[in-house]
Symmetry: C2
Subunit: 255 residues, 2 copies
């Protein structure tokens, strides 16, 4: 198989339920060891937002939330829980669409997504929701440093969330935080087979790696909330930020 | 590694330059054999649109194109080649955005994408463009049947293209045709770890598999225009259609 381009996507199971201030980097390394797929040089470690948010204490109990008049009215229009709408709007810097039960917002970080990324699934107690990490790129840096410290291996880290898409049904995992790897592979200026210079193509590999990892993390994410991507060739980029993916307003045709 | 969830994504290199009426299924099987990764039962074969379009003769020489007054005016506004705009609009059933050099259309199949999927790269002669297959689900069926006939293996086929996304910079590969595998893994109604019934999540695995494959196909797609995804568990779905991904107008918040 010399010269064959191949990557492996390996789910990391057996990570215990995560509590605030857990040492996530260590739990990931230990779980990878335990299942006999220890972390190697150049692995990309993909981690779902949910467990990152939990270690960072980004949880809100809905019954403790005071609801503003605006959120109460919006909740009525959307037929959503008023406390939930309050939390969603508290995480937003603008409302992109609020119609037909859908609340699409721009998060304080600049992501455009449903419900500011506030989520009810895989949290104990029906009344608790998770928020996105305050700074997912920062979270990725901390997890990467910890894994590199524990293993002595050079790795990259990607933090993922599940987003819907305009125009296409269903959800895919995308990246909201990176460390050590650029979210883009820029092909602009490269020549194709026939010498044509590509003017547009910049592959959003951060999002593609996130989607690849979702295929092994699947449904019961709490049981497989992380994955290793092995064999993907990338350049180490110490200053990479997932937030570079956010489309600037002037380029946004669909806002 | 018992119980570890793992998938492999294997690029299929060595496929010769594709001409009209080439036996694509056979070329893929032969190339997979030759690089010592023959197709196995339950493999998912991912094929880029470009080589499918070429076998189907979906090529247009721009200098042969007669330009309508509307296309000429649009081309001037967009600062694009008038013949190219004529071809793009000929493939469209509506214009979604036409602003600042961008022409986002709804293709006759219903995909919303830049330039109706008309593309200049990796075609010989700077003057020739490729169009999307007329019926990508039908193309996937034919390729799948041929591969199953030649190998005796049960496989699924996904045809991919590279799309931009509203709100996020860069491009990802998504699926425009499938055969044998549903483009969705529907998790609605499933319970999470804590018994919470998920109401929304439907993973667009067709798109995620396409994105995973792009990671090994990469830049010089003509050299690695297909990939095998091995180890992903799926149910065979003989009536699956990628076109089910298209968001109906009434659900579309961003049209």
């Amino acid at each position: 198989m010399t010269g064959v381009s191949e990557i492996r996507v390996i789910g990391i199971g057996g990570i215990p339920l995560i509590k605030r201030d857990d040492d996530l980097g260590k739990l990931i390394c230990d779980a990878a060891e335990k299942q006999d797929t220890p972390i190697l040089d150049r692995d990309i470690i993909v981690v779902t937002q949910k467990i990152v948010s939990k270690t960072e204490g980004r949880l809100v109990r809905l019954k403790d939330v005071a609801v503003s008049p605006f959120s109460r009215q919006a909740a009525q229009d959307l037929r959503k829980c008023p406390q939930l709408v309050e939390v969603i709007l508290g995480e937003a810097k603008s409302i992109v669409r609020m119609v037909g039960g859908h609340l699409i917002t721009e998060t304080r970080d600049g992501w455009i997504c449903a419900n500011s990324g506030v989520d009810r699934s895989n949290v104990s107690g029906g009344d608790v929701v998770t928020l996105l990490p305050v700074d997912s790129d920062g979270s990725a840096i901390r997890i990467r440093e910890r894994i590199m410290e524990l293993t002595g291996k050079q790795v990259a880290v990607i933090i993922t969330d599940t987003f819907g898409r305009p125009f296409r049904l269903g959800h895919v995992d995308i990246c909201i935080g990176v460390s050590g790897i650029s979210p883009f592979l820029d092909l602009r200026g490269e020549k194709d087979l026939f010498g044509y210079v590509m003017r547009v193509k910049r592959a959003a590999i951060g999002d593609e790696l996130a989607s690849a990892a979702e295929l092994v993390m699947g449904n019961t994410r709490e049981k497989t909330p992380a994955a290793i991507i092995r064999g993907y060739k990338y350049s180490i980029d110490e200053s990479a930020k997932a937030s570079d993916i956010i489309m600037p307003m002037e380029k946004n045709l669909f806002r």
